[in-house]
Symmetry: C2
Subunit: 255 residues, 2 copies
Amino acid sequence: MLTKTEINLIKSLKDKKNRDETSLFVVEGVKMANELLAGKYDVSILYYTERYQPFVADLKYEGKKQCISEAEMSRISQLKTPTPVLALVYKPEYSCIPEKFKGELTLALDGIQDPGNLGTIIRLADWFGIKRIICSSDSVDCYNNKVIQSTMGAIFRVEVCYLQDLPDFLKRLKQNGCCLYGTFLEGECIYETKLSESGVIILGNEGKGISKSVSELVNNKLFIPPYPLSIKSSESLNVGIAAAIVCSEFRRRIL
Amino acid sequence: MLTKTEINLIKSLKDKKNRDETSLFVVEGVKMANELLAGKYDVSILYYTERYQPFVADLKYEGKKQCISEAEMSRISQLKTPTPVLALVYKPEYSCIPEKFKGELTLALDGIQDPGNLGTIIRLADWFGIKRIICSSDSVDCYNNKVIQSTMGAIFRVEVCYLQDLPDFLKRLKQNGCCLYGTFLEGECIYETKLSESGVIILGNEGKGISKSVSELVNNKLFIPPYPLSIKSSESLNVGIAAAIVCSEFRRRIL
């Protein structure tokens, strides 16, 4: 049986404030649990219902676990349709030093707000072998349940770091010889631009785009041309879609 | 003042069944209303609050309109934060004959379920000058409020058709000389494949991919290679992301 304190703790993790205070976040679903346990994350406790019992026995998991009723699972789940497993997991701490970025392709998120967009971008990074994503402090929290679920497990393979001062960190990367890329309407056609093998691809806020202080640092302004080439002002691309096209362009050149 | 019947009608349009019965759907927001009125859609009525009054005067709109209170707007809005304008719009009827597809690049959606994904794909089509999207009857309805809002107005420029029998229609397109493309794990590297200027790009369901009866028709199986090249079975790309990369590849070759 779950105690009231346990139930309240789990439910409280919907809010970033409580995730920050406890350093815990929630992972739900069988596929997600399998991905979690295949990674290096530190699990606080794994709750499962009887349906998941056969799987639990097969898992290489020696940590704390507890079988609960379906009714209890419904109470603690953040999903519309609860699954047979829910884990409380410790947020990892990654050191974010400029040396780590040498020779690597990295994404920098400047104020991304939509959880679905962040989840999609983390999944995209995983596909294209991008190990690290750095985010401005006003970007949506990657331990938000919607983000976690929409990464389909990629969150356990890609390091996501939040920085107090993203422009300052990007400036340091630039001083270290790192090339900074971003998409702009006045940029150069991405299909015809020479792209380096490593560097930082900056992705801006859904409504406002890349902030002024970050824009000023960009070495290479890129543009994804529409078809036909004339731009109709009303059109735009979703940030995840733009990210996909840019990442694909970087990787297709070195395959 | 809105009557109870009017309020009930507007609220009922959340459900596809009622949209189908009345042929109406809901458009909300100032930007969306501007895009709507710039297009060829038939507006049944435009509701607006006093805040929007100055804009309404500027609009080239001669149709039925009604000023309502903010409280009334809150009651009829499907958004968390109601905007100053809401329109009831007639669903357009597009004829879907194979001749229309000659020389065009088209998207075919085979069971896409997520409204956000469909909205993103419509926006993407608009950017890349794809005029037409055909959907299997089990795909999410494009007049769903979430889809409409996430298209950012692209829905008013891209024709979306639902087909009773998508495989049969694709077969007819193929007989007409149209090339059918889709992404598959066993496909050919998209970066190295010759792509035609026109054809149909098939996008599958989020979980199950492209259905068997449609797969069998595909002429060109494409593959978006991960980086590095070895595939880890747990990884995958979101359908909107895959669509973006494929559309970009088609268009980059003919710019």
